[in-house]
Subunit: 342 residues, 2 copies
């Protein structure tokens, strides 16, 4: 509940529309069935959490009266249910480290005790991957939200994995830069989760995927070993590029705790066109024409079919700006010169 409040506050502070922020699951709505009751899944042979384990966690995260170890059922529930309310785990404890060293110590202990761990970022995923399936310990990166450095010359930002994407966007934007990815959940998703899931998003057509943008990661493996794969050099081509294994591996190889990312220069002029098209062939033709005619200023090119648009306009009570067509396209350009727009 306090989380929902926090995210609301965040939304208001940043002038984001409520739609852009995915809040944690609301308690007013029905609690979904347990994942293990709905699906034929089998718990691995992991240990069960004891009070002694919780005491150790408290010791690592600030002592007996810490607020960084949650065990109250109503507090823990939010971390067990995904955004779509389609799955639910029954994890009994949520851990909130602030530093890489704390993450390492927690994982080392869990590994020795054979306690299963579910790393969690903004819990905005739509495929149920961010919550426990059974009783995994939830390791939330919410408090690891320090932006360490933004270099306007090189365009490089270095930050902890729990930074919210929209916060980063705001901070790098103030220095004339832009985050190379943008997606619907930006008001609450974490950059660490974006990288761990190799999120694509709306700017992929312009700035490429995260394998090109992420310059380095720091990650902690399951046995608590810290891997320093950080680099602040865009042309770095020394050694094996192990950081790429962590991009998209969804926490299975370790937890990303810090990262450095290249941010392109922000565009001063942004234009959006929304088109209706008669056929899929027209969509293809328009795509090619946009690539060729708009070239380097083309920043986004998305196709929407009639059924998708209908369900969006109905669900959100909106009205389409143009008449009915079987296909629609959203084309965004962003350039440095407003006079160069069509």
């Amino acid at each position: 509940m306090f989380l929902r409040g926090a995210f609301r506050a965040l939304a208001l502070n940043r002038n984001l529309t409520p739609i852009a922020v995915r809040t944690f699951a609301s308690k007013q709505r029905e609690v979904p069935a347990l994942t293990c009751d709905r699906y034929p899944v089998q718990r691995g042979s992991f240990a069960e959490l004891t009070d002694d384990d919780v005491a150790v966690f408290r010791g690592i995260l600030g002592g007996a009266d810490t607020s960084r170890v949650l065990t109250a059922a109503d507090e823990v529930q939010d971390y067990n249910i995904d955004y779509l309310r389609s799955v639910r785990g029954y994890g009994r404890v949520v851990l909130k480290p602030r530093t890489t060293a704390e993450v390492a110590e927690l994982l080392r202990y869990c590994n020795e005790r054979r306690l299963a761990v579910c790393p969690q970022g903004g819990n905005t995923g739509l495929v149920g991957g961010s919550v426990p399936v059974f009783d995994e310990v939830v390791l939330s990166l919410q408090l690891m939200d320090t932006i360490e450095r933004i270099d306007e010359y090189s365009g490089i930002v270095v930050c902890q994995a729990g930074c919210v994407l929209a916060t980063l966007e705001e901070q790098v934007g103030a220095r004339g830069l832009v985050m190379p990815l943008d997606l619907g959940a930006k008001g609450s998703c974490h950059i660490g989760g974006n990288v761990s899931t190799n999120a694509g998003g709306l700017r992929l057509v312009r700035y490429g995927n995260l394998h090109g943008s992420v310059l380095g990661v720091e990650a902690v493996t399951a046995e608590g070993r810290v891997l320093d794969l950080m680099s602040n050099f865009k042309k770095d081509n020394t050694g094996y590029h192990l950081k790429h294994l962590f991009i998209g591996s969804e926490g299975t190889l370790g937890i990303i705790t810090r990262l450095s990312m290249f941010c392109p220069t922000a565009s001063r002029s942004v234009n959006v066109a929304f088109l209706g098209l008669h056929s899929y062939d027209d969509v293809k033709r328009t795509f090619l024409a946009a690539k060729r005619g708009l070239g380097e200023v083309l920043s986004s090119c998305e196709m929407i079919d009639a059924a998708s648009l209908d369900s969006c306009t109905r669900f959100f009570g909106l009205q389409s700006p143009i008449d009915k067509y079987p296909f629609y396209m959203l084309i965004e350009t962003s350039g440095s010169d407003a006079g160069h727009d069509e």
Copy 2:
């Protein structure tokens, strides 16, 4: 010698200036000392090549009278000396497979026999990494130069690793696309070598590094296993991204045999500015101004110091277009609209 001829022909056919083509070492010039005589290096405990091995290689590569197994000393020598003529190995055989299956069969055999292998692309590297140190078997990808597919909609090219960069550039250029990398050796370097060494090149500032551009690779490991890590989907974010381990691993994990790469849309208008600057601070200021003012059309931004420019003009008998300065910058823009130039 036939190679030198071939590359010359290539240069003339494609209207490349001779400077753009790095030919194989000329026999007219002095033969460098053996690497193992010049440096304190120790040969590993590998087997020595026998006539039986050569017979097996001939069997794999087209039978007894094959032209794809070189053993004549003067033919093999070209593959033992690097472009800068700074190192020399004494490999006794050069193998020229045409297919991935042949590469796999050759590596499987060499692994069983414990014969060391040196994979070789265009042999244009400047650090001696492309030639044997001792008597390694040279596996040249020269004949694996098939371009399988160029898709002008998606901008994806699929080709064998031995394709020459300039050939690819010409072929994708004919379809309105551009290779995302460009470098001095393009007239003879292979795309497989570019990827294996994670070559940066002149277009990195615009199109990012190869981790972003390479969509998939097919590679053969030392024991002859073919890894299919091909993908033709720019947004592919499934599974572990093992292909990135091969980008920049310089043949140590296996030999890249095929790859797919994303090629951006070619720019219609290219402009180059060559500036003289009074200080390094001015260089930094100009870099930032170029990034902000030129934004998305900035395609290249290189700094040259006075000593480098002097040695270039002297060596090539050229004249600098501007007076003497301590620093120079080469700034290239490429955009879709010529009217938008300064």
